[in-house]
Amino acid sequence: MNAPMLEVRGVSRNFGGLPAVHNLSFTVLPGQLKGLIGPNGAGKTTCINLITGALSVSAGEIWFAGGKITGLPLHRTARLGIGRTFQLLRIFQEMTVLENVMAGCHRWAELGMLQAALHLPGARGKEKAIRETALEQIEFLGLGHRLSMAAGALPVGEQRLLEIARALAGRPRLLLLDEPAAGLNDAERARLGLLLRSLVGRGLSLLLIEHNMDLVMSVSDEIVVLNYGEKLAEGSPHEVRNLQTVVSAYLGEAGHA
């Protein structure tokens, strides 16, 4: 009965003949937090780009909430309810924190140009809902004191939190996070972990790429391990940690961070 929120079926992607992702399959269930780990260059970010349509697949299918989304461009998958953040940040630097997150409301609160410019009926109520949602997400991520600051002036860690707030403002059903803890200190990282769990508690599905093993092991329900673009293992954090193949391929060289 528990149909998957996201289903990746035999997906491959080549770059100039070299496979970046090869025959990869996994699912994310509703309300599940799935970790995606692997050494540098294992194809984790490529995987997120393939799911969201920022890159097209060479083979395979991607299903979201019961519908096939293979080949849809980035803005269409976002429209359907897949939110994401970027490893190399893509915030709107010259806009304020509030404006960044307000732009994130576009998915559910699109205003026509005429409607917006002329304050036609409906526009005011919508603008208010947009503002309230944005403020709520900014508070949730702990950026309330930065509201009117230019996003580009924030420290990198807070820029990452801002990207999460912006993605959440779109009220996604699935959120893909690409190394959200990079640039955070220990306290911030711990808080991020709690925050991710509370999102899952609200029914959001999450796919988390993360290098910090403590974080990913403590918050994930299940973990997929990638190596050279292929799935090396999948299971609970406890199972994955004890698999010899994983230890030698990945944890052995990078597990002590």
């Binding site: 976002a78 304050h119 990079a182 961070a257």
Partner: protein, 335 residues
């Protein structure tokens, strides 16, 4: 801050309304009418350039379409000027849509600049070889004055109020747009296209929409021009003009609607100050554009706003810790 803005706007509107009381000679007032027409066009262009971050060197073409369509529709088909203005704007919008969909979907900013430049040249060429339809090099003369029902806008004072009234409407629309969620979306596109797409924003389509809106501004400006000067010739809509419009946008401040009006008015009035500037208009434009881009990239309005903020220091949160350390941690975390 809102009160200051409202007061500033009220003073601005009152000052513009009072000008004909002080500028009595028709000659000077005439230039202010022309300045208003150009300001209207530049206001629309600033939405495209300043908010969506797209360059167009072809808005002289849309300007020409408005002027010639209004001329032909009123003189040949005997439409009332207001109906002709709306019809011209609709046709121009459709042409902009047809042009914008392939251009803005497929091309980079640089390609767009070149493609619109070619569009402007093409329109100009059509005007010149258009024979009896466009009047060739000498254009068409004898347009009726603009009228709304029984209200006829004859003479400089009437046209001054007509044109600046339309500028006011154009500014209200543009400001409303930029301050709304829709303006947020446009600036997001300028900020990071992929980031914008990840929020469900159809970047290409949003660019097409604002391109069409800016073309409609140009068309309406062209219609007003035709009825005011009662003469249109291809020379009024050359490529040099399109470049000048861009100069006006950048001089005023590329993210500012009011800046567009200031830039448009200033550069249009410039040739009236000295003979030199009349003879070397393109050269002067070039020098201004280069100077602005090099020394005042935020434009005049940005410069003034910056000075204002320095004069009134706002309470800001303490400066964030050096982002370098955070980046260092990021690198550390990836080890």
């Amino acid at each position: 801050m809102k009160g200051v803005h409202f007061l500033g706007s009220a003073i601005g509107v009152a000052a513009i309304a009072a000008v004909p009381l002080f500028v009595r000679d028709e000659y000077s007032l005439g230039f202010l009418v022309l300045a208003g027409i150009v300001s209207l066009l530049v206001t629309g262009l600033s939405l495209l350039v300043g908010h969506a971050g797209q360059l167009s060197l072809g808005h002289g073409g849309f300007y020409a379409l408005g002027a010639y369509l209004s001329t032909i529709l009123t003189l040949r088909l005997h439409m009332p000027p207001l109906v002709a203005l709306v019809a011209a704007a609709v046709v121009t919008a459709l042409i902009a849509l047809g042009l914008g969909i392939p251009l803005l979907r497929a091309l980079t900013q640089f390609h767009l600049a070149v493609a619109t430049l070619i569009f402007g040249m093409l329109v100009n060429a059509v005007l010149i070889v258009g024979g009896e339809y466009t009047g060739g090099f000498t254009g068409i003369q004898g347009q009726p004055p603009f009228s709304i029902g029984p209200l006829v806008f004859q003479g400089d004072v009437a046209n001054y109020y007509l044109v600046w009234g339309v500028v006011l409407l154009g500014v209200i629309f543009a400001v409303g747009l930029t301050r709304s969620q829709a303006g947020c979306v446009l600036r997001a596109i300028q900020g990071d296209e992929m980031g914008a797409q990840s929020l469900g924003i159809d970047v290409a389509w949003e660019k097409v929409k604002v391109f069409v809106v800016s073309a409609v501004y140009a068309s309406v400006a062209g219609s007003l021009l035709a009825h005011y000067t009662q003469s249109v010739t291809p020379a009024q809509f050359g490529v040099g003009n399109s470049l000048e419009f861009m100069t006006m946008v950048f001089l005023g401040g590329k993210g500012s609607v009011i800046g567009a009006v200031i830039g448009g008015t200033f550069i249009r009035l410039l040739p009236q100050f000295t003979e030199f500037m009349k003879d070397y208009r393109l050269l002067v434009d070039g020098v201004i554009l280069t100077g602005v881009l090099l020394f005042v990239p935020q434009g005049v309005v940005g410069l003034i706003a910056g000075g204002w903020q320095r004069l009134i220091p706002r309470r800001r949160p303490a400066a964030p810790p050096d982002s370098g350390t955070a980046a260092g941690q990021a690198a550390g975390g990836a080890q």
